[in-house]
Symmetry: C3
Subunit: 109 residues, 3 copies
Amino acid sequence: MKLILAIVHNDDVARLTERLTEAGFGATRVASTGGFLRQGNTTFLIGVDDAHVDDVIALIRDTCRRRTQYVHPLPPAGFGEEMAYAQPIEVEVGGALIFVIPVERVERI
Amino acid sequence: MKLILAIVHNDDVARLTERLTEAGFGATRVASTGGFLRQGNTTFLIGVDDAHVDDVIALIRDTCRRRTQYVHPLPPAGFGEEMAYAQPIEVEVGGALIFVIPVERVERI
Amino acid sequence: MKLILAIVHNDDVARLTERLTEAGFGATRVASTGGFLRQGNTTFLIGVDDAHVDDVIALIRDTCRRRTQYVHPLPPAGFGEEMAYAQPIEVEVGGALIFVIPVERVERI
Ligand SMILES: Nc1ncnc2c1ncn2[C@@H]1O[C@@H]2COP(=O)(O)O[C@H]3[C@@H](O)[C@H](n4cnc5c(N)ncnc54)O[C@@H]3COP(=O)(O)O[C@H]2[C@H]1O
Ligand SMILES: Nc1ncnc2c1ncn2[C@@H]1O[C@@H]2COP(=O)(O)O[C@H]3[C@@H](O)[C@H](n4cnc5c(N)ncnc54)O[C@@H]3COP(=O)(O)O[C@H]2[C@H]1O
Ligand SMILES: Nc1ncnc2c1ncn2[C@@H]1O[C@@H]2COP(=O)(O)O[C@H]3[C@@H](O)[C@H](n4cnc5c(N)ncnc54)O[C@@H]3COP(=O)(O)O[C@H]2[C@H]1O
């Protein structure tokens, strides 16, 4: 048994939860905050037997791929027209950081 | 030293906190969410020396036993009388999932 | 790679976050609750390579030193004058509990 601790972007939480449940993997998640950007993200705790660690990592890799999104900057109040033609900004979303932690013993009560 | 990570049902949090404190065990708890039912539960982090791991597990087993509760389904608005005689629904509460994680070093500041 | 799990007092969270970022250490934090005082505190998760574990612990030791603060007891409504001369109460703040946990594998997606 290993405990997988995966820190993921909030945009990917619903899809990852669904994919884990469909594949029959148990999981618990906790609201967390990134140290650098101070934005909300989510930390998943996934207990999985040794033989399925790679499957879970592949599932996370597939669901949480880093990608670029284009967002239109919100025009500050009062600017309206001119800002509407401003260049969209490139924002990176997704990505994940995964720690695989050894577990000495598991008990289900 | 081991770190016990125990995911418990919210109905058992107050009693488990009290029992751990009475027995002199330090603990920290974090609000969490289950992957399948998407309901709130609680994850306890309990640092305990190797000799007392079994005591803590026995204490959790005693406090978080799985049990059945009967709840009366809430009558949807407007049904009132007829629903009041509906069969109560059987709901399972309690239960816990416990991971025992090795700790290489502990520092108290 | 090790995972440092550090439970710190809320008064020290902003300063510790800043010091970790300045030193180039990644970190994630989670709101938590103490088992004994039932007050809010914060649990940091810091993945760091083996060679820098001591640096991170020294940084936490420096930022989260236990110290005494004097607070004026708030006069209960209606007491006003007499209470204003009451002795300030000594309250302990700071301190931290640090667990160093082995990590078998790390993946960045
Ligand atoms: N060693 C570690 N231990 C524990 N948790 C860790 C960690 N490394 C990263 N994380 C967690 O993963 C989130 C995403 O990190 P990522 O490296 O993809 O994306 C990072 C990275 O691209 C960038 N970044 C972080 N620290 C930086 C720094 N000192 N200088 C420049 N860019 C930084 O900002 C993004 C967001 O960082 P943020 O801290 O808000 O959010 C982080 C943090 O919550
Ligand atoms: N794919 C599935 N098909 C059918 N029934 C399913 C299912 N996944 C879960 N269940 C049932 O639903 C209950 C609640 O699961 P949930 O994920 O919301 O809440 C879970 C979750 O937060 C945590 N958990 C369970 N297994 C986990 C694992 N492998 N890793 C991390 N957390 C786990 O413990 C809580 C209680 O789990 P418990 O086993 O007592 O009780 C589970 C189980 O009886
Ligand atoms: N049974 C008891 N009798 C008398 N005094 C008691 C006591 N349990 C705790 N205290 C005192 O109360 C402070 C706050 O404890 P609390 O559990 O709220 O907040 C704790 C808890 O969140 C966490 N913690 C402490 N020991 C832990 C452990 N073994 N496992 C997990 N978390 C622990 O660190 C926080 C600060 O702990 P710290 O030792 O600096 O400070 C503790 C300690 O000085």
